[in-house]
């Protein structure tokens, strides 16, 4: 075909210039693709962080507020001592001689050679379990699940006084035995055994996280001790990567009878939870649901994933700002520069070919036919630039994936993964959790299409500017350039 032959020969004649233009477009497009891939990776990491901190499928969490501070006789404000009442099991006390002793119902023994094991919730006000059902019945709520998060702390005193006490802790979530689309087990997969059934609601059975099971050599059928009560492991569960799940799950009713609460928290966790997972009917309903729950539970902390996202700090949030602000603008500037260079070079090429175009006009070629030829040459250059740019983008994304450090994100968490100090701020009692996630840039079909469009748009812009010169070309004037 004459059009293709002429186009091909002309591009070959000014190969260097065509390659230069294509490379310029490729650089701009490649940068856009790389930044988009990095941005997608950061977004994915952020989603992973929120999923890890929040739970997959959860839109809103409800936690109890911190109890009011206890004023001592000296007038200073300090949290109440964690001294549960004696009716809730053994207590650890200091003997008159200064050593540790374990007392139960007024009878105390030396702690040496014994283990003091307590299962306690974090430092938050409990929420009545009936609240969970009330939240689930709210309009625009798809599902709600109540959880009692606990920490089992066992202090083992050596038989002789030479050694020091050993502290072992693990986290325990008391969960409902029915399957719900929200909650700690919503995204879990069973790798051995089976999930809870309705018959297990008061049973001494447990699910163990795969990581904890591997570390402690546990498998289906093993037994574990929680607050000195033996539980049988009926399943090993695996949570999505980069989440921080609890170590053990037991039925909620069992957890409520087994755990001990501090005096400040009412001394009992019966019929209570300390965390409610809520899934809205749709993303658009989240603000409404959040508002409705806050209105009904004014004393509790109602947090949506979106507001949690704004509290994320760490290198992940810095990377997010970098890609969205600096990365975006650098890409735009490079693209503009590439377009400008392509346009200038194309216009210069058209000027050099003025006599050739004048001859074609003398032969009777319509101006539009000549313009089509020039646009075709520009388009071919743009397509080459797009292909090279996409390749550069993939290379850039691969480099980022290879050299980028794992990003950390720290955010207030609704659950506490281990016995850690509770930070009180403004009446809110939440723990901070740090999650480390990899940066995995990803290039979507949409980004590739965008890259092609940008490169072609740039090349056609250059061709259009050159075509404008052709349209204004007078044949007689152009032919004199040869003479």
């Amino acid at each position: 075909m004459f059009f293709i032959t002429y186009l091909r020969r002309e591009l070959r004649r000014r190969m260097r210039q065509a390659v230069f233009i294509a490379l310029g477009l490729a650089l701009g497009v490649g940068l856009v693709v790389t930044v988009a891939a990095a941005s997608a990776g950061v977004n994915k990491a952020e989603s992973g962080v929120l999923g890890a901190l929040y739970g997959v499928g959860t839109d809103i969490t409800v936690t109890g507020n911190a109890p009011p501070p206890h004023y001592s006789s000296s007038g200073s404000t300090q949290p109440a001592k964690a001294t549960p009442p004696s009716k809730n099991g053994p207590t650890l006390q200091i003997s008159p001689g200064g050593g540790a002793q374990i007392c139960d119902n007024g009878h105390c023994v030396n702690a040496a050679g014994h283990t003091y094991d307590r299962l306690v919730p974090p430092y938050q006000e409990p929420i009545s379990a009936s609240t969970v059902a009330a939240v689930a019945r709210l309009h625009d709520v798809a599902a709600a699940a109540g959880v009692l998060t606990l920490v089992d702390s066992a202090i083992t005193y050596p038989a002789n006084s030479a050694g020091s006490p050993q502290l072992a802790t693990f986290t325990v979530d008391g969960v409902g035995t029915e399957h719900t689309p929200v909650g700690p087990l919503a995204a879990a997969t069973i790798s051995s055994g089976h999930f809870f059934t309705a018959a297990d609601s008061h049973a001494g059975v447990a699910l163990v996280d795969s990581g904890y099971a591997a570390s402690n050599n546990l498998k289906t059928g093993s037994t574990i001790s929680i607050n000195q009560v033996r539980f049988t492991v009926i399943g090993i569960v695996t949570q999505p990567q980069d989440t921080s799940p609890p170590d053990v799950y037991i039925p909620l009713a069992r957890a409520q009878t087994l755990a001990t609460a501090t005096k400040n928290l009412g001394g009992s966790v019966a019929n209570t939870v300390n965390l409610i997972y809520v899934a809205a009917a749709s993303a658009a309903d989240i603000p409404v649901v959040q508002h409705e729950i806050s209105r009904r539970l004014p004393g509790d902390i109602v947090t949506a994933a979106g507001s949690l996202a704004s509290q994320v700090t760490g290198s992940l949030s810095s990377a997010a700002r970098l890609t969205s602000d600096l990365g975006k603008w650098v890409s735009v500037l490079v693209l503009i520069a590439a377009f400008a260079v392509a346009s200038l070079l194309t216009m210069a090429a058209v000027a050099r070919r003025a006599a050739e175009f004048g001859t074609l006009k003398a032969l009777g070629w319509p101006t539009c036919r000549i313009i089509a030829q020039v646009l075709g040459e520009s388009l071919a250059t743009g397509i080459a630039g797009a292909a090279a740019g996409i390749g550069l983008g993939f290379a850039g994304a691969a480099i980022i994936a290879a050299v980028a450090p794992r990003l950390s994100a720290t955010a207030p968490s609704s659950t506490i993964g281990s016995m850690q100090q509770v930070i009180q701020a403004g009446g809110t009692a939440l723990g901070n959790r740090t999650v480390v996630v990899p940066l995995s840039p990803s290039i979507t079909i949409g980004v590739i299409v965008l890259a092609v469009i940008l490169a072609i748009a740039g090349s056609l812009l250059a061709g259009a500017l050159g075509s404008w010169r052709i349209a204004r070309l007078r044949p007689a004037g152009a032919l004199t350039l040869v003479a």
Binding site: M1, F2, T5, Y6, R9, E10, R12, R13, A355, E356, T359, L360, K361, A362, L363, G364, W365, P366, T367, R369, R474, P475, A476, L479, T480, V482, A483
Partner: protein, 228 residues
């Protein structure tokens, strides 16, 4: 064929105006060979450009077969050139990236001749100028005379009514010049073309039926050649 009445052409040069043609009156019959002589800068090429619709007269009328060229839109002029007017230039003006055959085909593109049609007509056009064996050669692989032959083939492949030649032998040596002029003369006789040839060479001009001389934009027609 052509009727020029009081044709003037002026160019703006700075604040002044340059009169390239000054009230030219001319009638060219069908099938006539007119040679236009004159020194450089006296309006020969300007006259040719007006005859070919490559430029527009400032004043007067240029009629081709009764059609005033100055009244036509640019697209109409373009179509007219495509169908009826062939051009030959001093510097050959071949497209450097196209072969001899493809340069000839280029003249058929605006006529929307199919690829098969172009492939059928091009060899004959090259053969008529004695370059059938150079069809695949690029202009850079051809001598000056061969390039001009290709240009002649390109001008004639569409079987125009008029052939306008602007110093066709200006860049050629003497022997080649004679070959080219001989070829043009042969084609003129053979096809009954109207040939208007601009030259500064008197020996070439004498071979035409009529000779005009451009002097400072004025055209003076000499007596018809005694050889015609």
């Amino acid at each position: 064929m052509y009727k020029l009445t009081g044709v003037t052409k002026e160019y703006q040069k700075g604040r002044g105006v340059v009169g390239a043609l000054q009230g030219v009156d001319l009638t060219i019959a069908d099938g006539e060979w007119l040679a236009v002589q004159g020194r450089t800068g006296h309006g020969k090429s300007t006259l040719l450009n007006l005859l070919g619709g490559l430029d527009r007269a400032t004043g007067g009328t240029v009629e081709l077969d009764g059609t005033d060229l100055s009244a036509l839109r640019e697209t109409q002029l373009t179509r007219l050139r495509a169908q009826s007017i062939g051009f030959i230039f001093q510097t050959f003006n071949l497209i450097p990236t196209l072969s001899a055959a493809e340069n000839v085909e280029a003249a058929l593109i605006p006529l929307r001749v199919s690829q098969a049609g172009r492939k059928a007509r091009t060899p004959g056009a090259l053969e008529s100028v004695g370059l059938a064996d150079r069809a695949a050669h690029l202009p850079t692989e051809l001598s000056g005379g061969q390039q001009q032959r290709v240009a002649i083939a390109r001008a004639l492949v569409k079987e125009p009514k008029v052939l306008l030649a602007d110093e066709p032998t200006g860049n050629l040596d003497e022997d080649t010049r004679d070959d080219i002029i001989g070829l043009l003369e042969h084609l003129w006789r053979d096809r009954g073309l109207t040939l208007i040839l601009v030259t500064h060479d008197t020996s070439i001009a004498r071979r035409a039926q009529r000779t005009g001389v451009m002097t400072n934009g004025h055209l003076t027609i000499r007596q018809e050649s005694p050889n015609r």
